[in-house]
Amino acid sequence: MNLLRRKSITTGREMNPHTAVLTGEGAQQSIRQPQPDSGSKVELWRQVPSIPGKRQLDYYRLPLVKEPVWIWSVPLYFYVGGVAGGSALLAAAAHGRRSLRRIASWCRWFAFLGTTLGPALLTWDLGKMQRFFNMLRVLRPSSPMSIGSWSLAGTGMLATLTLVQGNSDNARPAALGAAAGGLMLSGYTGVLLGNTANPLWYGTRRTLPLLFTASAMASTAGLLEMLPLNGREEKVVKRFGMVGKIGEAACMVAMEREAAVNPQAAKALHEGKGGALWQGAKAMLAAGIVLSLIPVKSPWKRRVGGAVTTAGAICLRFALLEAGKEAAREPQATIEAQREIYDREGARRSSLG
């Protein structure tokens, strides 16, 4: 019965279709059912809201900025894109070297699969999936997402070309092009998150590009470590992965320190879902580093290390999204970061009047 009633509500506009016409600016906006509160999970207040004697520092603890609307496929893309970028780079570096033919081929495959799966994951998050091609409608240099979309499309094409051409000498330009695009894919997501109004991401905009780049290296190495490698290949993966893993660990520590400047935003890295994911990512990364430092030559140790590193890298992406949501819900995280500058400018402002 309840279901039936719900179905009958289609537009949320109490209009008689015989007498009214939908032509307004918001008339195209369709909803399946009216939502009592669609923006954020605002908890109801059942008591008198005003607190006598207390200075109002925010607006009833309501969020000031909107939290990200992205779903699971976006952080997963961050991982897939990073792996594709790192693989394209390794494929180009190992290009034409006979002893590393096999690993170069795997990397070409990863770059191809990553740049194919990546756009699909991003499209899955779009509100209007059939309009995914609008991402290439314009090039807007001010938008990291626009630059990223073009990089992803370009890298995808070059990665496909490289895969088809294989290890031949003619393939070198395409491989180098894919590597350049891969470098963009590895780092641009950090720029994309850093240049938002989200208090946590904006507050850590200096370390985020470094973190994403380092983690792209660690992710690529983590995936390769899980494959059967010979001595030479293992050496390449270990060197490349070690730089990435140590770099990622250093960047996570640096990001925590950068975020600590704004304690209200930094809370999101220690509490709740985002905090748990962040701490989990840290623990798994540490385990990955320890495993690769143990001086025992064993393929299983390497595989477990690679798996742990991979899980940590995926966890890190989800932690960043969840912590960003958490920070956006806290109004003081946004206000605190701006208040100091605001007060400093106060003298000049009051003299304007």
Binding site: R13, E25, Q33, L44, S99, T196
Partner: protein, 264 residues
């Protein structure tokens, strides 16, 4: 192409919290209803600007007097009709990868519903928390500054409906002139706490000024406005620089690792 810039001047000192602007906006733009909802936060059951709510009246209850107020108990009630600010440098516009968000001939910021693919990047790039993506519609929506009405030479619905002229619509230069006069008048009457929020570049360098600006009687955060917002893409060059350094290191590491593995 550009005609004259228009905007809103919202004078909170004369707002009576009647929500006529909210209703007029919903009705003119034929926006879907949000359902019955009691928030418990003063008389504010709208709570925030949303994809379906393009005007929102904030109710600020304070246990302190306004200057010149002579009630026995220290209490004052402030209202503010919040709206998209149509920033002169807009975070949403600069972030939009599809070009769906454009600046119109009236200098307002407009989302083209037939282009927007709902990527959600504008949602995190608005420093005021205005624009949002609807879960079931899939696109991002916000105030259009009544683009359709302006095209027909009419003022926006909210300004038309406002009974106290708290919402004023007009050419930007005239609005700014009026706002300055109003501020001087209020200060002369003893309302010393009055100030203008985001009117000029100097007031708010982060957004280079707002086309919909406000006269406020308390700190911005009391109304859920950011004290010193900045368009996030303003600092993008620095982030790209850091990324360039990082990926250069990554490329070096790859070349070194491959060189190491290849030699024997």
């Amino acid at each position: 192409m550009t005609t004259t810039a228009t905007g809103f001047f919202t004078d909170t000192s004369v707002c009576i919290g009647c929500k006529a602007c909210e209703v007029a906006c919903k009705q003119w733009n034929q926006l879907p209803a949000d359902g019955d909802f009691f928030s418990g936060r003063s008389y504010d059951n709208t709570l925030h600007l949303e994809a379906t709510t393009w005007r929102h009246v904030a109710f600020v209850e304070r246990s302190q007097r306004l200057s010149g107020q002579s009630t026995v108990r220290p209490f004052s009630w402030l209202f503010l009709s919040d709206v998209c600010k149509h920033c002169r440098r807009a975070g949403c516009l600069e972030a939009c990868p599809t070009g769906a968000i454009v600046r119109t001939e009236f200098e307002s910021v407009y989302v083209q519903p037939d282009v927007c693919n709902g990527c959600g990047y504008c949602v995190v790039c608005c420093p005021f928390g205005v624009i949002n993506r609807r879960e079931d519609d899939g696109r991002a929506w916000k105030c259009t500054l009544c683009y359709d009405r302006q095209k027909a030479g009419m003022e926006p619905a909210c300004a038309k409906a406002c009974p106290t002229d708290s919402i004023r619509f007009g050419k930007l230069e005239e609005l700014q002139q009026h706002a300055r006069e109003r501020l001087v008048e209020l200060h002369r009457l003893g309302v010393k706490e009055a100030y203008l929020y985001g009117m000029t570049f100097e007031d708010q360098p982060g957004t280079e000024g707002l086309n919909a600006f406000f006269l406020l009687l308390d700190r911005p955060e009391a109304y859920n406005l950011p004290p010193r917002p900045a368009v996030p893409t303003k600092g993008a060059a620095g982030s790209w620089g850091i990324m360039t350094v990082a990926v250069a290191g990554m490329a070096l590491a790859a070349v070194a690792a491959v060189g190491e593995g290849d030699k024997k």
